[in-house]
Amino acid sequence: MVETSEAALVKLVARKNQAAFKKLLNMHLSGINRYTVRMIGNASNAEDITQEVFLRLWTRADSYKPEASKLSTWLHNIAHNLCIDYFRKNNRFIQDSSELYETEENLHLASGSDEPEHELAKKTRDHDVKKALMTLPERQRSAIIMCHYQGVSNKDAAHIMEVSVDALESLLSRGRLKLRKLLTEDGKS
């Protein structure tokens, strides 16, 4: 039902209907932005990519085929390709840890807290997660972000990354193993 109405909205967007575009923006902006922020590791550059994803929705809506994929998958596909292009152009893999994106917790900490020690420990852990994610090869990172955080199905993620489901599972396993080593005591021991 949602997919059908989304397809109708995309048709309207193809005819340059701004109200339909706004609805789709409300539905997908936060999800796509979370993906790009986690992929790029830098909120400012990630927002540029997110903007480009939605500009493409606006300019190329007529190329979306609802029978081939969900809109969310189509948008993730564009975002994934733009992130890969970004890495190629910038030849940049690991972000300076000082540039890593802000989380809601970090923002709350900056505004003051009743339990600073607890918050500091949480912030450190969050920072470790971001740092660990950024150390992964981009394809492993993309696979984990899509399947763990974005709720993209394994088939859709494999389609986006142009690999088989088995290859996707291999990317996920290797990525998660590395994260485990970096983030958990069990992995370190």
């Binding site: 932005n33 986690r38 500009l55 809601e104 949480k122 969050d126 997660v129 763990h148 088939k155 996920l172």
Partner: protein, 153 residues
Amino acid sequence: MNIQRFKELIEAYGTRSERWPEADRHAALIFLEGDRDAIAIINELRTLDEALDADIVAQSTNLKADILHQISLTTVNHAEKNRDDLFSKLWRWLGPYANGSFVIWRPAIAACIPLLAGVYLGSVVETGSDDQLFEWEEDIYVMGLVSENEEQE
């Protein structure tokens, strides 16, 4: 489902069943209920999911407005481009070359347009009548005669 596949599943998709592939989820949940090794695997790998879940990304406040602004700019550009396209289409149509061949009748028609417009205007717009012009000439002639007689007197 067997322990090997269950382990592969958890290592790839994590310990939360909602993230397991739909095709495997039901079988994996049934397997988990009756297998101690499966429970041990879940307990062993749960920490990573907890660490990953703690990471939350804040939403930018201006991003939506920025995108909508960009869209309105591209809409204006699109309208200008369409207008340009219309003019250049007309210009191309009036030119003597169409689809790689020389077509003389198109510029000829274009050249005839002002001529036809002139003929049309000439037939529609009224000018002053000849009778009125003649009356004026007669008046001037009479006035001339009158002033000549006065001089003679």
